[in-house]
Structure formats: structure tokens, C-alpha cells
């Protein structure tokens, strides 16, 4: 078991094994996202109150899910890298930051676009929107920090510490923003009134969520592989890889 653990930490082994997963993950994410998108955009029934504008949910919800999950992936990788000194975990953390920031931005952007026809405004200080904005700032802080160190090793350590401090803070931030919102704004605008979706609308959403998860793992692996090559550029196996056969 420990040998497996040790192997997993080796960038070379990771590079080889992840290469085998890539085509399958790419296939799965393309199939799931295309199916989910076509199903959701063309075949799912129209919403009784929001009309067709509700269909942006098929991008918005999966992106929001992964934006939040991505922070925990990043922080967990950072913690593993810090505790067991596994280089690979550091690389995963560095790779996860821009990906998570992009997904948070997509969630905010689609939310704003969705807000215009539904609420009549692009931006309101709703609790969930505000929390997502703070999450985006946390991601941006980590990305900015990771770019400002001279060596990749100390940059990863610094980001791991910041990510862990952020992780402890995230539930507190969420709770406080939630509480702030109920304090300041009596519910003038309600988020989608019906909490339970019709199954015909929900099934494509589920497919989209699965597709986004596959896509997330795919891009995370690709980013990590790039990071591995950048960091291990001096080793023989990377040099061999770069040689034309």
C-alpha cells in the first residue's frame, strides 16, 4: 500500500498513467456535455414563469458546483503537499487555482446574464452572489501569490498556507454573508421560487453536472501535466520525452 502511495507521488509515474486516462476522460466529457447541452437547450420543457431564459441553468449550476469544490480540491492538495512533502500534490494545487477562478467567473457571469431577464438587473447583492464574488477574490489572491515567488517550490508552499487559511474562513464567510443578507435585504427578489425542479428539466442538468466534473478532471490533469514538465525539465525522462524519436 505504501509503495502505491509512494509511486503516486512520483511525477514521472503520474505523467505516464495520466496520459492513459486523458482520451477516455476527453471522450466522456465531450459526450456528456454535448448530450446534456442539446437535451437541456432543445428538448427540456420551457419554464412556466421564466420561459427559455432559465436554460442558462445548465451552465450556471455545474460551474458554481465546481467553483466551490475546486477550492477544496486546491486546499486539500496543498495540505497533502505540505504534510507529506509530496511534490505532485503541490503541482495539483498550482494547477487547480486558475481553473477554479475561471469556473467562479463563469458562474458569476452566467448568473449576471440570467439575472437580467429574471430580476431585471445584472447585479444584486444577494448572499450567494456576494459569497461567490468573495470566493473569486480568494482565488485571485492565490494566483497572484503563486506568480510572485522566485522558485516554484516556495510558491507552492506559500499558496498552500494561504489556501488552508482560506478554507477555514470559507464557511465563516458564507455564514456571515448569509446572515448579512437576511439582515439588510428583506426578500424583495426571490431566487427561483420553485425549489424542486421538474424531472424533465433535472435530468439534463444531472448529465451536464457529470460532464462538467469529467471536464474539470480532464483540464486539471492537463494543467498538472504541464506543471510537471515545467518543474521536472532537468530530469532525464523529460529530456527523453522532448527528443524526437
Amino acid at each position: 500500500m505504501w509503495q502505491w502511495f509512494h509511486k503516486l507521488g512520483s511525477p514521472r509515474w503520474f505523467y505516464q498513467i495520466s496520459g492513459k486516462f486523458l482520451p477516455w476522460l476527453a471522450l466522456a466529457s465531450v459526450v456528456l456535455i454535448v448530450t446534456g447541452a442539446v437535451w437541456g437547450l432543445a428538448f427540456a420543457p420551457e419554464d412556466a414563469r421564466q420561459g427559455n431564459s432559465f436554460r442558462i441553468i445548465y451552465i450556471h449550476v455545474p460551474a458554481s458546483f465546481l467553483a466551490l469544490a475546486g477550492y477544496y480540491v486546491m486546499a486539500a492538495a496543498g495540505a497533502v503537499g505540505m504534510i507529506w512533502k509530496i511534490k505532485l500534490a503541490d503541482m495539483v494545487m498550482v494547477a487547480a487555482a486558475p481553473l477554479g477562478a475561471a469556473l467562479t467567473f463563469i458562474a458569476l457571469f452566467t448568473g449576471a446574464v440570467w439575472g437580467k431577464p429574471t430580476w431585471g438587473t445584472y447585479w444584486i447583492w444577494d448572499a450567494r452572489i456576494t459569497s461567490m464574488l468573495v470566493l473569486l477574490f480568494l482565488y485571485i489572491g492565490i494566483i497572484a501569490l503563486s506568480h510572485s515567488f522566485s522558485t516554484r517550490e516556495s510558491s507552492a508552499r506559500a499558496c498552500a498556507i494561504l489556501a488552508l487559511v482560506g478554507t477555514v474562513n470559507i464557511p465563516i464567510i458564507y455564514k456571515s454573508v448569509d446572515w448579512w443578507h437576511t439582515l439588510h435585504q428583506p426578500a424583495t427578489i426571490k431566487l427561483s421560487g420553485a425549489p424542486s425542479m421538474h424531472p424533465d428539466m433535472f435530468k439534463p442538468l444531472l448529465v451536464m453536472i457529470l460532464g462538467f466534473y469529467c471536464f474539470y478532471v480532464l483540464v486539471l490533469l492537463l494543467n498538472t501535466r504541464t506543471e510537471v514538465l515545467l518543474r521536472e525539465g532537468r530530469t532525464n525522462w523529460v529530456k527523453d520525452l522532448a527528443q524526437p524519436k
Binding site: 480568494l138 489572491g141 522566485s150 506559500a158 498556507i161 494561504l162 488552508l164 487559511v165
Partner: protein
């Protein structure tokens, strides 16, 4: 070898006397705090009703920015003259030394800001019920700002242009304290009890006191390698 207690209090006294010998630096955050409060009526409206409505939030935000401005000095000067590396290398537990530095720093930056806040309350016509929760809240809140800020300051100590990055790193983490702090004042003005909110602030302060010195010590070990 110095004892643990000797090292802890020695470091606090040393930092305090260094701060007192650079009095000009001490005043900068305070003047910043005052100038922001002067700009608010100029930028928005001198009407006391409108000012009173915004006073709790504006005072809290200016206090946050003033402590943020001072955070840079927490480790910067010691890093420049090499004494910070000596602290990291010393046999005493680093988190304790970091805590000593944070306490000394709070005494010369956060605490004066707290003491000045009633003056800002007067300038921005804060209703009189708001003064006590403002003072209490700022005592707890600025301690969290200093403790959490120390983690960011430690991470960016060796970086060029670290101060802009520092604000980017720590400001999102300040969100809960700002929310609790302003709402305690607001509740007192509206005639509601603010004990619960103050307890949340105290809990935040206690929790950060427990955790932040360790995180800052870890961050310092990374940060000095820049």
C-alpha cells in the same frame, strides 16, 4: 539561554521601543484614518442624517484600511536588517515569537485606531448609542485584522511590491469581521441588543488568536525564502 517568558516579553518590549523611536511611522495610519473620514462628507454629503446612516460602515472600513496600511511594517524592517531570520533560527518556538510581534504591532497600530474611532464617530455624526459597540467591536475586530494580516505579511515579506499583494490576500478574509462589526453598531443604533453579534466577534477573535500565530509562523518560514 533566555527563558520562554523572557523571550516573549523581551520581544514585545523591543518592538515597542523600536516603534516609539520611529514616532512618525506610528502616526501615519492614524492620519490616514482621519483623512478618509474627512473625505467621506466631501465626497458624499455633509448632511448629518445621511452621514449618520453611513457612519458605522465608513468608520469600520477606514479602520480596516488603516490597519491594512500598517501591516507592511510588521515584518518588513526586521527582514531588511536580518533580525527576522535570527528569530526564525532561534531555539524558541516561532509561533510564540510571532505572537509577541503581533501583540506589539497591534498595540502601536490597531489600538490607537480604536482610541481614535470616537472622534470619527463625532465627525460623521454617529448616533450616541453606537459609540460603545463601535469601541468594543473595533478592539476585537482590529485584533483579528492584525492576527490574520500577519499571515499575509509573513507570506509577502520578501517580495517586491508585496504591499499591494498583501491587501489582495487578506481583504477577502476580513469580510466576516466587517459584517459583524458594522451590524453590532447598527443594531445598537436601531435599539436592538447587540450582545449576540459581539459574542460572534469575540469568538472570531479568540479563534484567530488560537490559529493565526501557527499559520503565520509557517508562512514566515516560507516567506523569508521569497
Amino acid at each position: 539561554m533566555t527563558t520562554l517568558k523572557g523571550a516573549f516579553f523581551g520581544l514585545i518590549l523591543r518592538d515597542l521601543s523600536v516603534a516609539l523611536r520611529h514616532r512618525g511611522d506610528l502616526l501615519n495610519p492614524l492620519f490616514f484614518f482621519l483623512i478618509v473620514a474627512t473625505l467621506v462628507p466631501l465626497g458624499i454629503s455633509p448632511e448629518s442624517a445621511r452621514l449618520a446612516a453611513m457612519a458605522p460602515g465608513m468608520i469600520w472600513i477606514s479602520a480596516l484600511l488603516a490597519t491594512l496600511l500598517a501591516l507592511d511594517d510588521l515584518f518588513q524592517a526586521d527582514f531588511a536588517d536580518g533580525s527576522l531570520v535570527q528569530l526564525v533560527l532561534s531555539p524558541q518556538p516561532l509561533w510564540l515569537l510571532v505572537l509577541a510581534k503581533i501583540i506589539a504591532h497591534w498595540l502601536v497600530t490597531g489600538f490607537p485606531v480604536v482610541l481614535f474611532s470616537p472622534l470619527l464617530g463625532l465627525m460623521l455624526s454617529l448616533p450616541k448609542e453606537g459609540f460603545l459597540p463601535l469601541l468594543l467591536g473595533l478592539v476585537l475586530g482590529t485584533s483579528v485584522f492584525s492576527l490574520l494580516g500577519a499571515v499575509g505579511a509573513a507570506l509577502t515579506v520578501a517580495l517586491h511590491k508585496g504591499s499591494a499583494l498583501l491587501s489582495l490576500l487578506v481583504m477577502p478574509l476580513y469580510v466576516p469581521v466587517l459584517i459583524f462589526g458594522t451590524s453590532a453598531v447598527q443594531r445598537a443604533i436601531d435599539g436592538m441588543s447587540y450582545g449576540g453579534v459581539m459574542a460572534l466577534l469575540a469568538a472570531a477573535s479568540g479563534f484567530t488568536l488560537l490559529v493565526a500565530p501557527f499559520a503565520a509562523a509557517g508562512a514566515l518560514k516560507v516567506g523569508i525564502n521569497g
